[in-house]
Symmetry: C2
Subunit: 505 residues, 2 copies
């Protein structure tokens, strides 16, 4: 039986040969270690195929491109708020939230109630007819955004949102050249695969990078410039000293010069008009790339430069939106910018398939230059859920949870960095946290895959689900539902520490 696992590949090389495993003979869960905080939720009685039946289906009926975490993939059967339960009834603290998607909690009562109420009323008509929910939702969602970002188009995923934003940028400016960062992730359609800046996520296909430039990533930890004052984070423990003072940031300057190189050598900005850029895509904090933060003034100046050259600026808030970064509702607010287009997905629907593109009325208008349609986008179920998620974020004070617990976690993890040679970097904001694992602090060489996986698996065995990412597969990603408590955080910290110790890390 072969299962394709998302392995920590050394040097970013995908190694399908290394990803099969024998399901029998792997380690079994242990119940040693810290106690999960108590939970009064009583799991439902649910029936499901056995693990072996499921594996059989997986190997014969599902596309082998489906990748799973862990040597013996976890079999999740139900969830409640920050907890998940596997097929044996074991409870886990979910610190990855289905890849930053379950924003307010698994099966959140308010969101579930909204869906339960809507499902007897109306599921779908398409937008050739009007229906109430999309309008109520459009009002509520755009309330959360600054002027002039008040015009929304609903789609079904982050990929669809970024694909549409690529179109809008090109149509509005009349230009073709798009910029995005190396190490970015913006989706998996043929077009968005181009702006996604990770070779491991690009198929060998004609034209996917056409008129797209993946520019140097301003990564203060691993990039050519960086210091210990670059980031907008409660912790600055990346181990690169600098003598910058008084708001000065040499890394910011250096990376902006590199942007300028691309503009000068690879785009047509030298021509008389000088306004030949279509757009610039940036995640406010890189998600898939491992909670990567840019030097804090970079994005504001890059946006200014791109606009000088005729381009529009697109904030990809698929992971950073909806209070995730704590201090702000939107990640871009942490950069003191107002983008021209904002793309959203994941946390917007707490697991329901929703995506959205919000822009200015002026830019939105370009979409009328041809017929455009999206069958499911903004359907009554999705809209009812989306509204309830906005409510839950507010009522449950999720943004405050992100800020408080996130800052606490970052502080504690920064202390771990002092204790463990294998923790190279701790970064992020709110509940968008990255812990970059290395062989040793001096070399910054990514931690060997085997060791990385062992720490990760041990956390899982002790009941903690961590995310993993980065092109080298060596970054732990901590992005739980925004309903975790201080006790959950302490449990997670204890487990992580034990796993590090156990593996002699």
């Amino acid at each position: 039986m072969k299962i394709r696992t998302l392995y920590a590949g050394g040097r970013g090389i995908l190694r399908p040969g290394a990803t099969s495993c024998n399901v029998s003979g792997v380690r079994t869960s242990s119940n040693t270690g810290p106690e999960l905080p108590p939970c009064s939720h009583v799991p439902k009685n649910v029936t499901f195929p056995t693990y072996d039946e499921m594996l059989k289906t997986r190997s014969t009926k599902l596309n082998p491109a489906y990748m799973t975490f862990y040597r013996k993939p976890l079999y999740i059967t139900q969830g409640h708020m920050q907890y998940l339960y596997d097929n044996t009834g074991k409870r886990y603290l979910d610190f990855f939230a289905g890849i930053v998607t379950v924003s307010v909690g698994h099966c959140h009562p308010r969101v579930s109630a909204a869906l339960r109420d809507q499902l007897d009323t109306l599921w779908h008509t398409t937008n050739v007819y009007m229906h109430p929910k999309i309008h109520e939702y459009a009002e509520r969602l755009t309330e959360k955004l600054p002027e002039p970002l008040k015009c929304v188009y609903f789609v079904n995923s982050g990929t669809e949102a970024n694909d549409m934003a690529m179109m809008m940028a090109r149509l509005y400016t009349g230009n073709h050249e798009l910029l995005s960062f190396r190490n970015s992730y913006h989706g998996m359609s043929m077009a968005t695969m181009g702006i996604t800046g990770q070779g491991t996520w690009k198929y060998k296909l004609p034209g996917i990078n056409m008129n797209v430039h993946n520019i140097m990533n301003p990564d203060p930890y691993r990039g050519i410039y960086g210091g210990n004052k670059c980031r907008d984070s409660p912790v600055q423990v990346l181990g690169r000293d600098c003598d910058c003072a008084g708001g000065q940031c040499k890394a910011e300057e250096g990376y902006l010069e590199q942007l300028e190189e691309v503009l000068k050598y690879s785009t047509q900005t030298g021509l008389p008009a000088g306004k030949n850029i279509a757009g610039f895509f940036a995640e406010s904090i890189q998600g898939n790339g491992g909670a990567m933060q840019y030097p804090k003034g970079y994005l504001k100046r890059a946006f200014k430069r791109v606009r000088e050259l005729g381009g529009v600026c697109i904030s990809d808030e698929v992971q950073t939106g909806f209070g995730r970064t704590g201090e702000h509702y939107w990640g871009f607010q942490g950069h003191d910018v107002v983008p021209d287009i904002v793309t959203m997905a994941k946390g917007i629907g707490n697991g329901f398939p929703i995506g959205a593109v919000v822009t200015t009325p002026e830019i939105a208008k370009v979409m009328t230059r041809a017929n455009h349609f999206n069958t499911y986008g903004g359907n009554p179920l999705a809209s009812a859920v989306g509204i309830a998620v906005l409510d839950a974020i507010e009522k449950d004070e999720c943004q405050k949870v992100s800020e408080d617990i996130g800052t606490y976690l970052l502080g504690e993890l920064a202390k771990f960095r002092g204790q463990f040679e294998c923790i190279g970097d701790v970064r992020g904001k709110g509940l968008m946290i990255g812990v970059e694992m290395v062989n040793d602090k001096a070399s910054r060489v990514p931690l060997a895959a085997e060791k990385m996986i062992n720490v990760w698996e041990d956390c899982r065995d002790m009941g903690l689900l961590l995310g993993k990412g980065g092109i080298n597969g060596n970054i732990f990603r901590i992005k739980p539902p925004m309903c975790i408590t201080k006790e959950d955080a302490d449990f997670a910290l204890s487990v992580f520490k034990l796993a590090l110790e156990k593996n002699g890390a």
Copy 2:
């Protein structure tokens, strides 16, 4: 207040200028006309914004690309099986099913129950963990398909499905050239906009048609070849006689010659290898294009030819799948072919956002050549709904309803064609029906937009919602939920006839 309506444009020209309307001063619904079949369902008490509030939101918060049907757009607030209710409580027979999406009925009890049950269990984890539902669904869905089509990747829309199928075809064959029909519709991402063969649905963007050929549409009614024996339909009333006999079809030959022209002049098939085609996309019956059917032997021979040239054949079953065509579960079965890739959406989820790409294990494997991911695809909610839709189709005998009621409708509509000069063509299979409206039978000039709209609006006023499509906006599309009764059909026929008479058509 401006509302963008999907107007019947003459000659396929999109005229945004003609699409605004004054909301006051339009006709109001009349209650004259045939009686809707009785329905024991008691509508819910639901609250919603007033019509004017909703319009205000629409004009300020929603992207102006949202197009609506009718001069005064309908405001739908709830639905039950084949019926919809507007903001005044008026009931309508839904003969368009949210664009062929509500397959088994609005808020179908079995499908609603499945969603209700799942929403307290698990919404989402992504597929980095295993969860039961996607496996149960993969088993059930692939059961419905012939060998070797047994390997599924779940996505969120038809656009995502076709975008992925484009990738698979190119990766598997190592070729770039894709073929699709003029008058086809395959989605709205930057890539699928290329294979979509309708200029009104293509933005002026770089590269969207790259390595794509929209080949001549083998349309027996409006194309250069056609006769009264071409189609796989219970009715052959297109008004073009032919002397074909004994299984011979000159139209089929003619259109295949035209395909050969493209292969010869526009692709690289002349090179030594002679195998330079990546793939060929075909809806089994064109949906957006107006229930357009090809000469019945065409697709089988085209598939054979494309395969000779190294390409794979993709059936877009977004509209024709799941029993819609009556005689078969899949539209491609009506062409006696087994495609290499099948794309699905719409009816698959009865309104829930689901898409899928089913292919052979051999082709599926190409997706492992890079990382690939889809956050929501195959999530537990979607999978639970998808399974329930398969069950409902079976238990409610939807395929039989499609065949019986569809054939009845086609027969009666064919009679109307004899009575009304403005009905140029009646075509389709099962509950996938097109009625092409013309100025007069001899010229086949599309019916003037004003007249078309008047008939359509009068049907609406009498409680019947018809679809509309085709690049000239002159085709009524009849694709109701597959739970309609003979009484519903009779009501619809009476209403349509009255509307035609009233407008002197």
